[in-house]
Amino acid sequence: MTLTSPMDTRPADPRPMDPIARQRRRMTAIYGWLLVMPALVLLTLFAFLPTITTLWASFHSRGTARRPSVFNGVENYADLLADPTFWTVIGNNVLYAAVTIPVSIALALLMALWADAKLPARGFVRSAYFTPTVLPMVAAANLWLFFYTPGIGVIDSFTSLFGLPSVNWLGQPQTALGAVMVVTIWKEAGFFMIFYLAALQTIPPDLREAAQVEGASRFTYLRRVLLPLLMPTTAFIFINALINSVKLIDHLFILTKGGPNNATKLALYWIWEMAFSYFDRVHAAAMTALVLLVLAVVAIVQFSVIDKRIHYR
């Protein structure tokens, strides 16, 4: 068996080596393998293996004690596409992403610009904006449940002061997804603000003064200087927001459980439901594979197209 270090890029030497040199080289190789071992073991155990078994499962039928699982090609995928719930979930998730991502990014930028200005209570403003991020999503969802509860919730108590009727925000299909989006935006914007705030502080104040002397208005400065310089941050936040729009479903467990009538069912929640409520592991696996595929495509687009148009310092 030949043992070569993962870091070893030298071409193999065809000449026979003397035993001491060979020994030394083997020691280096072992050392290298030991260094990558922890990451390799963890990634294999929790990322590579699950991915492969998921893909494997997605191409096989659901096994029972009597009928063992057999290979059935893309049948699981075909089942998904034929399921109307699939299209509802996809529609929900696309709408969810299309609203929460731009709104939370825009809000984060606004808050960062404000928190970066010379305010009297700047520290307070910053920590106030960041508080939602510190809360666990489950706690945040419970908080919002208290806001949304019809009749006795904060929102209804407030609107009833003006004689408005009680609204069951989470209980009707027309408003449920919107209500869930509000919670997501509230939770995410503060987190993204921190990145913008950090990026803003690396932009030298000279640039603002130079633009000011040239007669640029605040808006021109924002559009021609600040936003282009913040593009790397925006790209990073965008990818994070996109991943979160698929990944972050904790609040659904508290707020709506995907209802009413699938109105707030998102992809990952649906996968969880299929896998652990209905024990339909193979269809959950197929759906997971589709989600992975979409995210992979997005990542490739991000690295190949968007990256080229961004100015990195």
């Binding site: 640039l207 633009a211 002397v213 007669g215 640029a216 021109t220 100015h311 310092r313």
Partner: protein
């Protein structure tokens, strides 16, 4: 572009700062500052760090607002106007180039903001590129330029605006020594050619001496002395001015060591005698005014700095042309011409001149310095 100095005859003072005060919580700033800057001149604000020279520049630019006082540019009170309406451009110490824009876009940024027509923009850009020797680099980003080239982009951006006043905040401090020297001449030539009024901030006295028509030496938020470089060098108004200009700085010898008559018969013990290094003559022991011992010498090519210890413990630096072979420990004596003697009050630092005899030694100096002495007596 050369029409900048058009209405020059009206008022010789192009820029006037009138009793301006701007203080900061953390210290620094300027205090009751008044100065005038002539049209088409090259004025250098000189001083140690924290003396208020950059604050003065930022006040002129409108990047700071004075607590009190007035700023007048070209007969117009601009105290309350934003920077863009004051008709000036700035070259920042960091150059403040927009890193995501090309050289061309950086230069025409202001023209675009002001919606100058494309043809006009192109013409001015070409002119500025040619003047600064940047032709061919239009498409580069600042990160792809050398320090000297970035500096020239900043200069081109200032030129292209066609403003009569250009403010420069230590524009050479990020360049290496060799480049600094040649860029100094380039900036000076450009300023003469365009007839711009330049206010230039630096802490480097050689820059000030080499470039300025007028030097304004500042210290602790006030003007220490103001005038042409030669005046500041030859008749420094204070001991501080004497020590700040010239390399090596003017040597100070305690007055009681020097067997000369102080002007107006003041007590010598309360005075210092200043002598420029090049005025000091090294003589054989016993022949000169004061006995001295060589401590060390520094050969610089055209001249040699000889460091000497005087009898009373004071140290002086003599500037000897050519090479000097005297070994450390050599005893000799120093002398200097009577005319090269500068008397300063030890407490106030003020110059004591023979012409204007002060009734007491603590009185201020005569001459071009309105605000000295600055140091509190005692």
């Amino acid at each position: 572009m050369t029409s900048l100095a058009g209405n020059a005859a009206a008022d010789p003072a192009f820029l006037r700062i009138d009793r301006v005060t701007r203080t900061f919580d953390g210290g620094g700033g300027v205090n009751d500052l008044s100065l005038t800057i002539p049209r088409g001149g090259f004025t250098v604000l000189l001083g140690p760090s924290g003396c208020g020279k950059s604050t003065t520049l930022r006040l002129i630019a409108g990047l700071e607002t004075p607590d009190s006082g007035r700023i007048v540019i070209d007969g117009r009170d601009v105290t309350a106007l934003p920077p863009s309406q004051r008709g000036l451009s700035i070259v920042f110490q960091s150059y403040a180039l927009f890193p995501h824009l090309s050289v061309e876009e950086n230069i025409v940024f202001g023209l675009k903001v002001r919606r100058i027509a494309r043809a006009e923009r192109e013409r001015k850009l070409k002119e500025a590129l040619a003047l600064t020797g940047l032709t061919g680099l239009e498409a580069r980003r600042p990160a792809q330029l050398s320090g000297g080239q970035r500096q020239r982009v900043a200069l081109a951006r200032a030129i292209v605006a066609d403003h009569p006043l250009c403010l420069m905040d230590e524009p050479l401090s990020n360049l290496d020594a060799k480049l600094r020297h040649s860029v100094r001449q380039d900036i000076r030539a450009l300023q003469r050619r365009l007839g711009m009024t330049v206010v230039y901030v630096t802490h480097d006295q050689t820059e000030a001496m080499g470039m300025a028509d007028q030097v304004i030496l500042m210290r602790a938020g006030r003007i220490e002395q103001m005038g042409p470089p030669a005046t500041l060098y030859e008749t420094p108004a204070t001991a501080f001015a004497a020590g700040f200009l010239g390399a090596p700085p003017m040597t100070m010898i305690p007055g009681d060591l020097v067997p000369l008559t102080a002007p107006g018969g003041s007590a010598r013990a309360r005075l210092d005698v200043g002598v420029r290094g090049e005025a000091l003559k090294l003589m054989p022991e016993g022949e000169g005014l004061l006995p001295a011992t060589v401590i060390a010498s520094e050969f610089l090519g055209a001249e040699t700095f000889v460091y000497l210890a005087l009898a009373g413990g004071a140290q002086v630096t003599a500037r000897v042309p050519g090479r000097d072979e005297r070994a450390p420990g050599t005893t000799l004596s120093v002398s200097w011409p009577e005319a090269a003697t500068h008397w300063f009050d030890r407490d106030s630092g003020a110059r004591i001149s023979a012409a204007a005899v002060a009734p007491s030694s603590a009185a201020g100096a005569a001459g071009p310095n309105p605000s000295a002495p600055v140091r509190a007596a005692g």
